[in-house]
Subunit: 299 residues, 2 copies
């Protein structure tokens, strides 16, 4: 820190993994609705999730921040508090960055990780017959975003339904375990939503998939939420979950535990040769899955 660039001594026998990620006021967060500490947490957790998706472990991060003078007081303090909390939680210290002035808050986070040579898991590699798994529950972050948008009062950080939207978890432990055990044939993280991300994994691997709607780990909505929202739609099209999507060869399916450290791992379908992305409904209807997840160019 303080020099023109950061210096990292690579660990012997390891590969360096690099990823960068935008988090922009107006596009990815709203200054008046999102607590500053959640922005600090999220900008690092989101980028670290790309490491989890490769089976890598974080080493350090660089933060590029552009902000108005008005945000350099309390907002910045709270932002840094959330960033430090994520940094400790993910065991990923700051190594450098670049700061400039701007009328809106712009954040770009570069995360550096490591993985033992040859153990990284790519998006290509899924083969017909492989099982498709997801970690955690899907749609929870999207539910949080919708609740924040509807509620005009100050965002209540204590509301458990907002937790995953405000303070997402990068599934680093699960990703690293799958890499160590060589159990995943392909992997990516769910950042834009299953219906948008699943076709990307299929395209990279040159395969198709059949997923079963009743196997998808959607939310169990209750009360008013159950009337307002469709849990399956949230699970298919909701972004920002940062859960892992991975494929496993048939002979290894039994080696995937039901959960790791409290996070469920759920088999949701199979990889097939025909390059279609099909959703099998409860009535066994085959529905082509439309990409309805987050698209920064559609908005």
């Amino acid at each position: 820190m303080g020099d023109d660039a950061a210096i990292i001594r690579p660990r012997a026998g390891h590969e360096t993994i690099l990823t960068c990620d935008w988090l922009l006021e107006g596009s990815h967060f709203l200054l008046d609705r999102h607590p500053a500490d959640s922005i600090g947490w999220k900008c690092l957790a989101r980028a670290a999730s790309d490491l989890a998706a490769m089976g890598a472990e974080p080493r350090c991060f660089l933060l590029s921040l552009a902000l108005p003078a008005a945000a350099s007081g309390i907002w910045l303090d709270e932002f840094l508090r959330g960033l430090r909390a994520a940094s400790r939680h993910l065991n990923c210290p700051a190594a450098g960055g670049d700061t400039t002035g701007r009328d809106q808050i712009l954040i770009n986070t570069t995360v550096v990780g490591e993985c033992r040579r040859g153990r990284t898991i790519l998006r290509k590699g899924a083969k017909p017959g492989d099982a498709i798994f997801v970690s955690g529950r899907l749609g929870e972050a999207e539910l949080g975003l919708r609740l924040i948008r509807r509620d005009k009062r100050r965002t209540n950080k204590g509301d458990a339904r907002l937790r995953k939207h405000l303070y997402p978890e990068a599934r680093l432990g699960i990703g690293a375990w799958l890499a160590r055990q060589r159990l995943a044939t392909a992997m990516m993280d769910l950042s834009d939503g299953l219906s948008s991300d699943l076709p990307r994994l299929c395209a990279a691997s040159g395969v198709g998939v059949r997923i079963e709607s009743q196997r998808i780990p959607a939310l169990r909505l209750s009360g008013l939420d159950a009337k307002k929202f469709d849990a399956l739609e949230l699970a298919l099209d909701g972004g920002d979950d940062y859960e892992l999507l991975f494929t496993v060869a048939p002979e290894n399916i039994s080696r995937i535990p039901r959960s790791i450290a409290g996070t469920p791992l759920t088999l949701i379908g199979r990889v097939v040769r025909e390059t279609k992305v099909l959703l099998i409904s409860e009535s066994r209807e085959e529905i082509p899955l439309a990409k309805k997840g987050w698209d920064p160019f559609r908005k």
Copy 2:
């Protein structure tokens, strides 16, 4: 490319050097005055200059780009043409990135470099008695910026006076040579201007400097330019030059050549114990150097 993150295999016995750099429409460039290919060239050259400043060599880069749909046609093609030219010129291939939509063009470039272990040159390390050198000529990029701002016509890419502003050079060869020869006790690149950057090197090293105005390699202005501009002021306060500022122990001064591959290396002053930054005028007056370089928060 195409996966969640980029994978790099570090070279044995080397350290990994990382730096990131903003280039923002309105703050760092004007959409209607700066040719798109120069923005593509500059976003990589600027970031690579931070590697030169450490004595490192580039390995690859990640590009984060946010842009409006309107810029995704001809502008983007030209931008990528300039970026590819810089990538080839600097021997620094693309390894990944992140793209999103935005009303203005936002660019963040992360560059990854390598340096043999223990050979990186930091800002700290300058000692009283060391000589201070700069590479190239100073003020040229600032002259280009002022000419572009004054001239309301379309920017003429062929005007030699604009060259350094539009297509800056990262002094990678000079930086790496100084690192290999272990000749520089401290180094940084001049991105904000000598009057702003010199105090940073002094602060990091806990020293002061005395630089001599008539030794500073300012431009030789001619014709109208000589009437309109003050070459010394351009050299002291002009940003964007990306020349190297470095210090050399007295016993090694004779080992610094007058130029490397056509780029002059000029001794401009001495490091002193007293922590002041003084400019010695032609009449031997001692003038405290005021920080008048580029400041993103002042504008």
